[in-house]
């Protein structure tokens, strides 16, 4: 009983509530602006937390993190510009919904999916932290390798109209990702002695260029296109629609939790895996990518499911799973606390006070999100001739701001043109992005596994987790190939009336 009152004592202070409120609000707004990522906001907020109480400090940062996870979806849905990397998947269905005048529905679905996933993720953190941390520790390079293999199979399901083109796009993504320093030998690959490429191609400029810039180019090339009046006036989400996606949201959250608990995979992969699972199971499979609410729900639940779970390896093992949790680890250390098993023994009250705050942050996210949507959805009403130059300005700033590098602006514009050419030639950009993200992880873990196993391939099948992912990979490939053939056979007799110009690769 005494413990409970101590926890409440620590948690129930005005400072904590303000920290969560302000944190989430900053996170949502910053997350929504392309190029300004939650990572930057957390880093910038860190010095302000020096003078705060430890619980308040951490809750402020966690609030920004959670808000940022959701905020990225807003601009992804409204202007085809993912505010954060993890929102790249949300835009696949979110933006088409905006074009159909259903922006409000999409925004609300993203918010509810995010909040539900957030709560589930927090519960996983609170109830199963020690158990999930064990899984994380058993995830060595071979297990990682198969997880990435499994993730790569989903390229087929986001490939758009042609699986072959999807694979080509993904391969191009892998090639671009291999630019820079070789991870094992430190030698330079494909850098052409250009100093700016020595590390690797930066992610945010590529992301912004790939998605936002093609919209701008497209608009100016065919100026006559009518402005779609979308949105703020559009209908909101009905309870029925939310209920229809509930299963997807729960599944997406669980995928997020598992991915989040494993250090180093990240929210972007989680949202794509969740999306592809939802697509595979949905009766409306054909409608995915053309404005399906369930797609938005899947993507957002996947990436917000990660948010609570990444704190699992951080709190229970002291291992940060991504950059943001690394900064939060820094905040712990500045306040004289070292996350890990010792923290649970020595500062249990503090941990429980944190848990209270983290649970509260999900509720605050719902509240703040509602307010923010109301204003942000007005963006959809702005005529494109005014909106797009502003978008382009943010793109330039965003590309520059990540590394304070002018080269990155050029990179962003280059990938903008690449994205535009992709769109014109019927190549989907999502597989390119996924190849770019997963390619290096695949290579790293393949090489690490071989190094650890001293060249013996038996290590690839060393335990139950690898067997599970081998089976999942094989099944996923099998279903994808089977569906591909079924669709081709189905398309054959009435090929002429139904097919898009690009369907069926027979002639290519």
């Amino acid at each position: 009983m005494e413990g409970v009152s101590e926890v409440l004592n620590l948690f129930l202070s005005l400072d904590n509530f303000m920290a969560i409120g302000i944190g989430v609000l900053i996170g949502v707004v910053v997350g929504a602006i392309p190029g300004l990522t939650a990572t930057m906001a957390v880093a910038l907020a860190l010095p302000f937390t020096f003078s705060l109480e430890p619980v308040t400090a951490i809750l402020l940062l966690v609030g920004i993190y959670k808000g940022g996870m959701y905020g990225g979806s807003i601009t992804a849905i409204l202007i085809h510009t993912p505010g954060s990397p993890a929102a790249a998947c949300t835009l696949l269905d979110g933006y088409p919904l905006t074009l159909q005048g259903k922006a409000k529905k999409a925004l609300q679905m993203a918010l509810y999916a995010s909040c539900i996933a957030d709560v589930l993720s927090n519960l996983a953190l609170i109830l199963f932290a020690s158990y999930l941390a064990k899984i994380a520790l058993n995830f060595g390079p071979p297990e990682f390798f198969w997880l990435i293999c499994f993730s790569l199979t989903i390229i087929v399901s986001i490939a758009g109209e042609s699986a072959i083109k999807g694979l080509i796009a993904a391969s191009l993504g892998v090639i671009v990702a291999s630019i820079g320093m070789d991870v094992v030998y430190g030698s330079q690959r494909l850098t052409f002695d250009n100093y700016n490429l020595m590390d690797r191609v930066s992610f945010v400029p590529l992301l912004i260029g790939l998605f936002a810039v093609p919209e701008v180019i497209d608009f100016y090339l065919k100026k006559a296109a009518p402005h779609v009046r979308a949105a703020s006036s559009g209908l909101g989400l009905t309870l029925k629609e939310l209920r229809a996606s509930l299963k997807t949201i729960v599944r997406g959250s669980l995928i997020g939790v598992i991915i989040g608990a494993i250090p180093g995979t990240g929210a972007t992969a989680a949202s794509f895996i969740s999306y592809s699972e939802a697509k595979r199971r949905s009766p409306n499979r054909q409608n995915f990518g053309k404005g399906e609410l369930e797609g938005v729900a899947a993507a957002e639940s996947g990436n917000n499911g990660v948010a609570g779970a990444t704190l699992i390896p951080l709190l229970s093992l002291g291992i940060p799973g991504d950059v943001i949790t690394a900064i939060i680890l820094g905040a712990f250390m500045i306040h004289g606390l070292t996350p890990g098993p010792v923290l649970f023994q020595e500062n249990l009250t503090l941990i429980y006070a944190l848990f209270c705050g983290i649970m509260l942050s999900s509720a605050v996210l719902l509240f703040v999100g509602h307010g923010v949507i109301r204003y942000f959805s007005l963006v959809a009403d702005i005529p494109k001739a005014i909106l797009l130059p502003i978008v382009l300005m943010f793109c330039v700033y965003g590309a520059f701001a990540v590394n304070n590098s002018v080269f990155d602006i050029g990179l962003m514009l280059f990938f903008g043109v690449v994205g535009y050419l992709f769109n014109r030639t019927g190549f989907a950009t999502a597989p390119f992005l996924l190849g770019f993200i997963l390619g290096p992880m695949f290579e790293d873990n393949l090489r690490r596994t071989l190094l650890i196993g001293r060249g013996d391939p038996a290590i690839f099948f060393r335990g139950p987790i690898t067997w599970l992912f081998v089976a999942l990979t094989a099944l996923s490939l099998f279903f994808a190939v089977r569906r591909y053939w079924q669709e081709r056979i189905a398309a054959r007799p009435d090929a002429a009336p139904r097919a898009h110009p690009g369907t069926g690769d027979s002639g290519r």
Binding site: L137, P141, G264, I334, R454
Partner: protein
């Protein structure tokens, strides 16, 4: 006519203002916001340390802004600093082993890590710790080296060219053992593989492994500093317990110190050194150093320059032996 007059006036004004600017700088520094460049992404030891230092410096010399410029293992930001230009007399950079290892890894760096900079002060040093998983059969450096002569061991690091990696390479060459380097991207990714026993050993930075040593998940065989660390009582320096294994000269510490472009005026360097002296005295800073398992460093100016030059030489030697690059 009025146009040319205006232009002439402008040129005159500009010419008059130029010497003024430079004298102002020399007389009273800082005249502008000081920028502290962190050549790594937010969140790492360098970042957290820099923000703490900036916070304390600010109380003495006015606004200090921290800027993260990650890329190419810190050489990107360092290259920009060395280029000088506008504002370079108000820009300082938190250098770390990346500064001395970079020239070994990248053969076409546009700067010299020693000649092109002003060395303000080394701030802290953090020893590395030779750690093995709790499940490891080796309880001493001797046992480990003996085993490593018959069996090929693996060692993990936070990335190729990190001080952790180079320490491993140094260990290899000094003991004449064969070990395979398994690189990860950052300490966060590397730790699970060490904790679970996927790799045999690591020479990780103290802050990353301290709590795991205390909780018994990792065994510390030795520290890589010259003296034992107060945070790991009972763990001897590698140079002492490994002396008869050929490790007598094995000292690698991660250091973090402030440098600036060589165009920074002497007055500025002195102002900064005086301010840093006060930072080092600050109790909250002392607590902070203890928290991350580091120790206060003392080298200033030329001493710091010599220290860095030595470090460059050492890594060049190690890289030559390990056939890196």
């Amino acid at each position: 006519m009025p146009l040319t007059l205006k232009r002439a006036l402008r040129v005159l004004l500009l010419g008059a203002a130029l010497p003024l600017v430079s004298t102002v700088h020399a007389a009273d520094w800082p005249t502008d916001t000081v920028r502290l460049i962190v050549p790594y992404a937010p969140g790492g030891t360098t970042d957290v340390l820099s923000r703490k230092v900036a916070d304390l410096l600010q109380q003495q010399i006015g606004t200090v802004v921290v800027e993260n410029r990650p890329g190419a293992g810190s050489t990107m930001a360092t290259g920009q600093l060395a280029r000088g230009g506008r504002g370079s007399d108000h820009t300082i950079l938190m250098a770390s082993p990346g500064h001395t290892i970079g020239p070994v890894l990248y053969d076409n760096l546009p700067y010299d890590p020693v000649k092109d900079f002003r060395f303000i002060r080394n701030v802290i040093e953090i020893p590395n710790v030779m750690v093995v998983p709790a499940s490891s059969p080796y309880d001493s450096v001797q046992a480990f080296v003996e085993a490593a002569k018959t069996k090929e061991m693996t060692f993990s690091s936070s990335g190729v060219g990190s001080s952790i990696h180079m320490s491993g390479e140094l260990f290899k060459t000094m003991t004449g053992t064969q070990m395979t380097h398994v690189p990860f991207r950052g300490s966060g990714e590397a730790l699970p593989a060490l904790l679970s026993g996927d790799v045999d050993v690591s020479f990780d930075n103290m802050p990353a492994v301290l709590s795991h040593i205390k909780s018994g998940k990792l065994k510390a065989l030795a520290v890589t500093s010259r003296e034992p660390s107060p945070y790991l009582p009972g763990v001897e320096p590698l140079s002492k317990i490994g002396a008869d294994l050929g490790l007598g000269d094995f000292v690698t510490t991660a250091w973090f110190g402030l440098i600036a472009d060589d165009s920074m005026p002497e007055e500025a360097v002195e102002t900064l050194q005086a301010a840093l002296d006060k930072v080092m005295e600050d109790q909250s800073f002392k607590d902070f150093i203890a928290q991350i398992g580091g120790e206060a460093a003392s080298q200033e100016g030329d001493d710091f320059r010599d220290y860095v030059a030595q470090d460059v030489q050492r890594w060049q030697h190690v890289a030559g032996q390990a056939e890196l690059q």
